[in-house]
Amino acid sequence: MPELILEKPLAELLPVPSGALVEKQLKTEEMVLNMGPQHPSTHGVLRVELLTDGEVVSKATPYLGYLHRCFEKHAEALDYPMIIPYTDRMDYIASMNNDLAFCLAVEKLMKLEVPRRTEFMRVIVVELNRIASHLVAIGTYGLDIGAFTPLLFTFRDREHILSLLEWLCGARMLYNYIWVGGTSHDFPPKFKERVGEFVRYFKPKADEIYRLLTNNEIFIQRTRGIGVLPADVAINYGCSGPMLRGSGVKWDLRRDDPYSVYPELEFDVVVPTADECVIGDCLARHIVRAKEIYESLKIIEQCLDKMPEVENFDPQAAVPKRVKPPKGDVYGRAENPRGELGFYIISEGNTKPFRVKARSSCFVNLSTLPELAKGQLISDVVAIIGSIDIVLGEIDR
């Protein structure tokens, strides 16, 4: 190998974002490197084909489909209520949110009124699940970058949420709780108090978790300025959720296309500020997630206050005996922890949908990977994938 004569020290040459300078000065033979599908930092079974020039990635192509389970085709053969357990399995970290998105779509199509108490119950469980999901995202992101401790902290607190939800509906991850027109169970006695207790317990812990990574110098060095996604690019790709908000766009379906009881609740849409990170980089996305936990806590507190008490409440009272929407089509969407999850349903007036198309947030967010990874170091690709916070179950469906 010919000896390289550099004009400047290597450290100053490498972080050039486009990689153009690097290419010119130290071009080596390009090598194809397969990252995944068993790579621990690809969060499941994602394969990324990296075209590397030394340490620098010149092209990254994600390959999907290892977890494809034919959700959309299955849905055509199933009754509407029977699809709900399958939507659970799309984004298995935040199943409640998936159920809600699907049920909102079907309810919109059937013009179904949901009892007010049910709406609050739904928002509470959805926000609890959002916190759990963000905790996983933060913990595993630390793990990707080399910090093991946050994972233990976040999983400890996620455990509390999972046991709450388990008490509620009997499952720890795949709840099948939110049904078309209602929920499967009412809140058990004392559940509200326990949720309130959890919120009080969790607030100081959330501070702890926030400080643990966001103030960590090594973490900041690994994420600040890496994988910068400008706002216009993010919008053009159709990103949503923390990915879009990390780029500084104030867009949250809970505020901008409100559903359920969100219009009555007060919360902020979190966007990063320029003095803590570069807008749109990995750190910004991480900060958005960490701060959204506080917003969710706020929402839960308000819901607990506002939730009406009903004697002998039957959560399934509004559940139709046969879910049979009229002919037509509908697009229902909800804000998932990872972005906009939408279901486009075409109904022929039967108990089974003619076609269900899921617009999954992770899939769209992941499509920015080639853009983000170009010109970055291989180790930074790990940081970038982690910051997108993908769940392969939702990407492949």
Binding site: A11, L14, P15, L78, D79, P81, M82, I83, P85, Y86, R89, R156, E159, E166, W167, L168, C169, G170, A171, L174, N176, S184, H185, D186, P188, N215, Q221, R224, G225, I226, A274, D275, E276, C277, V278, N312, F313, D314, Q316, A317, L377
Partner: protein, 183 residues
């Protein structure tokens, strides 16, 4: 490898934090404290986890109270509603007052997704979700559970039956009555 971003404010450190040693001690003290904090894990499988009544484990068939077979009347609702089509049965007539019962009743546990719909629709409380959660098999054939494997006495799922009565079926009946009274 550091990217330079001049416009980012650095975290301000106090002198005490800059000396660094107190911070290290603080970290060590924190770790030390954790040694005496209560555990939030346990040593499975030495210590068994006992799920609550709401838990949805393996679906089982409930035996009749007089032990003369299963409560199931082979109506087929559960097979109809099961999303992955895990249940299959064959109905025959019987001498008992329930008149029909399943000759064969199989749940393919490789297919079952523990959704709980079968329990939800069953009119006889004949199929309920038990607390069993560590279900393993050595072959695909043994994962298809027949009636013998599914049948359990009602006492062993008492928790769940009580739970269903208290939180689901009784409330449902009451609200049905209310609905019937009001025209």
């Amino acid at each position: 490898m550091q990217t330079k971003n001049p416009d980012i404010k650095k975290t301000k450190f106090t002198l005490l934090e800059k000396i660094y040693l107190p911070e290290i001690l603080k970290g060590l003290w924190y770790t030390f404290k954790q040694m005496f904090a209560p555990n939030f894990t346990f040593r499975y499988p030495d210590v068994r986890w006992n799920p609550i009544a709401a838990f949805r484990g393996r679906p089982v068939l409930v035996e009749r109270d007089d032990k003369a077979g299963e409560r199931c009347v082979a109506c087929g609702l559960c097979a109809r509603v099961c999303p992955p089509m895990a249940i299959s049965m064959q109905a025959v007539e019987t001498e008992l007052e329930q008149e029909r019962h399943p000759l064969t009743f199989e749940i393919n546990m490789l297919r079952c997704i523990y959704c709980g719909y079968c329990e939800e629709v069953c009119p006889e409380e004949a199929i309920v979700m038990s607390k069993e959660y560590d279900i393993t098999y050595f072959s695909r054939e043994s994962a298809i559970m027949d009636k013998q494997k599914l049948l359990v006495p009602a006492e062993s799922v008492k928790d769940r039956l009580d739970f269903l009565r208290k939180f689901k079926n009784d409330i449902r009946k009451e609200s049905d009555q209310v609905a019937n009274v009001q025209p």
